[in-house]
Symmetry: D2
Subunit: 253 residues, 4 copies
């Protein structure tokens, strides 16, 4: 069709709900996505969802608090055109990442939580976000829990990195929890955010071995490397349109 050359084709049928997922990557002359979508829909059942996209950089909002490892990894990849995304702006509830952000030429909004109720703080954050047309909000160790209404407003667009191998160690201080439990492996999880804490669809996970000799601080330091790698891998997959949602799970082609 239309002189397209198929590069990669993946398929998956969920055996439990019978849903069929497929993704075809093709190269060729500029395509008319609407035409392709309508043609493909004709041969599929009525309630099928078809989307044709031309690869292009996603537009993202970067949110952080004070940890620099995931945050600057994203800034750096963006700077060297390896992120498959453009960072529209960065938002933080602290001011400590301002300097590094501005060195990379990215606008930085510090929105203090001081004297603000959670909803009011989020309203200010949303005000900044809503100035942009964006594809994803990336929480690069943004250390505040979001309210249901905020999550609802940006449903399916918020990606978080959690510093544990979910579903182990949900919530606060996962490295402290891991230390107390005496696990021999720690991990990190990149996931879409939904309204149950750390329960959204998992995109990617990674792990590393630790031992009795790691205290909480050493575990946290070591874990940062995994967090950064897992978030980077997840973003790459999402920004390349390789992640499909299947209920509360993901299909990663």
């Amino acid at each position: 069709h239309q002189g397209l050359n198929i590069i990669k084709n993946d398929e998956y049928v969920d055996p439990e709900n019978g849903t069929f997922f497929t993704r075809t990557e093709a190269e060729g002359p500029l395509v008319d996505c609407e035409f392709i979508e309508s043609e493909v829909k004709k041969v599929l059942s009525e309630n099928s969802f078809v989307k044709c996209t031309v690869p292009q950089k996603k537009k993202i909002i970067l949110m952080g608090t004070k940890d620099y490892h995931c945050y600057t990894d994203i800034l750096t990849r963006n700077h060297f055109n390896q992120l498959d995304a453009d960072i529209l702006c960065a938002i933080s509830n602290r001011d400590s990442l301002r300097e590094i952000t501005e060195r990379y030429g990215v606008p930085y909004s510090f929105i203090s939580t001081k004297d603000l109720k959670r909803e009011d703080h989020e309203a200010k954050v949303a005000e900044v976000i809503d100035q942009f047309e964006f594809d994803y909000i990336v929480l690069a160790k943004y250390m505040r829990i979001l309210t249901p209404s905020f999550v609802e407003k940006y449903h399916g667009k918020i990606i978080n990195i959690h510093h544990s191998f979910l579903p182990a160690f949900i919530g606060a201080n996962p490295y402290r929890q891991a230390y107390e439990r005496g696990v021999k492996i720690i991990g990190a999880t990149a996931h879409f955010v939904n309204n149950e804490l750390d329960q959204g669809p998992i995109i990617e996970q990674g792990v590393m071995r630790i031992g009795h000799q790691h205290n909480v601080k050493q575990m946290a330091a070591a874990g940062k490397e995994v967090e950064r790698d897992v978030l980077a891998k997840a973003l790459k997959m999402v920004f390349n349109d390789r992640v499909l949602l299947n209920g509360n799970k993901t299909v990663v082609f």
Copy 2:
């Protein structure tokens, strides 16, 4: 002292409870362990625990149900003198592992659960166990939950392999739970058994990557390889006296 040559020396101080752990491995002429223990105790604080052991094969009771992968791995290593243990007998709540067990010349007790209350079944199991002087009971996918009184009776001597990356997916059907949650990595955990389900001190853990395309059955099949490897590693460490208990955690030297 006594012409011993130190091969390996490990130390660890738990920063939270101040306990000092050390393990020294030495070779030399036959030692008088009681003498060494009393000499070492002299230089330590009063409530120190000192144990000197001469490396020798541990004596174990092997328990299984129907899964063969961990169970026969232990039988095979034992047969080729690579287990650092002697299997005194095997006990099962099914009869399906009898043939393979007897091929390896290990006595096999099938203790049916039919028409028996849990306590009564366990009493029969204990009756077999108590015929032996043993060091450890190894649950090689023994698929019954043990009562507190059974666990108490053999406190610190029961080693289990759980088919998840604890503390994720405690209890029944961890692969089903993992599938439902959509994790990208599964694992297995070898631990000492205590009276909280799957909460005992962790000895070793292992993981493997999976993807959306793994259904529960494929996950379980793939996971068996990790279960077997993790249990084997844990047993090696325990049987070589390299695992020390630190509250509900282990120090593995």
Copy 3:
């Protein structure tokens, strides 16, 4: 076609030689493979290779020397019907694996190398092999180099496990080589055998971390676990018809 339901479909185009590989797994009523092959060929270019197979246990010859770990793993999986293969017979240049082999009811041919030239020994081995219609010869740590004529005779049918992360440490004593070089990771490689030592198409590889404290013997002991796992994974893929040859490389679907 023919009421088949496609379960899995994989495709790959080698960008360097332009070869297109595809594998479709389908379930349905008993199929006429010849018919399917001729139908599929009609729509493909003339020099295409099409093969339709009904999943069935492969028939294998197991060869070993004295190491038991890969060898008995295969015997055990076979015994519990988890190998996707039937072992027709076992052949060894030593007699030490006879007992375990016969416990599993597999015929064992000990073919001594004593006073025999390499060619004459291989002729005797081939004599045993040629009594059987078989699919693959599995070298489960068979510690003799095969002559080109032997390899040629069974071209594409011999699978070997090499105890290094190829192409590192080709040839004899890879763990000694690894020790001398001071590597921090060791590995194992399952590959088809061709006429260049340890140069055949790689099917699967695995690794494990080691450290300065591992001597050659400890490295070899630890490495056995990887060897066994890698060979098992490779055999599973091959026996399920998921491994295609692409020159000196494999496509594993």
Copy 4:
């Protein structure tokens, strides 16, 4: 002694050359290193090497060519005081990393190779280096082979990251070599540089799985993540005085 509290103590005896290595980490009031060294030497054999160091940031020269991933990772860690080192200056044979380097406030010397013999180029590089008192030269994907005399001049001080799992794929284009060989795992190696290409003492290695579907470019892109992680781990160990040389191997405590 001197009121020091031992935090970590490690020992290793090389069984082949009989050398005993030990490292003790202690905390306490400011120590007199010369006194400690002379005291420790008294109880050791004459040709022992004893070194007492107070933890302090190492001083490093950073060298790169055009790849940013290892290079900016080091700049970033340095900026956030997580490198355990201070970057004295950056030197490159290209000008493309100037902008990012200067954003981080690190002086950048571009030394073109244009119209220069290798020795002459190196002389100019050495001229910059020799303006500084430094501990290590870090080659963060510096893509030029150094001459023996340059390596000799800075013996034991040059750390390199090689983009293969050494000793596999020595020299140029390791990902191309890996692709041609059809390996299923790729890796990276951080090592001290000596006068045999990619043969110096290995500090750290890492790997990642790939498959037939990775072309050379994708392999190289994926491998960058491993390169960066391996170099970062190696530098952390070296900068914390945890890496001892044992002939052409390292002891990493």
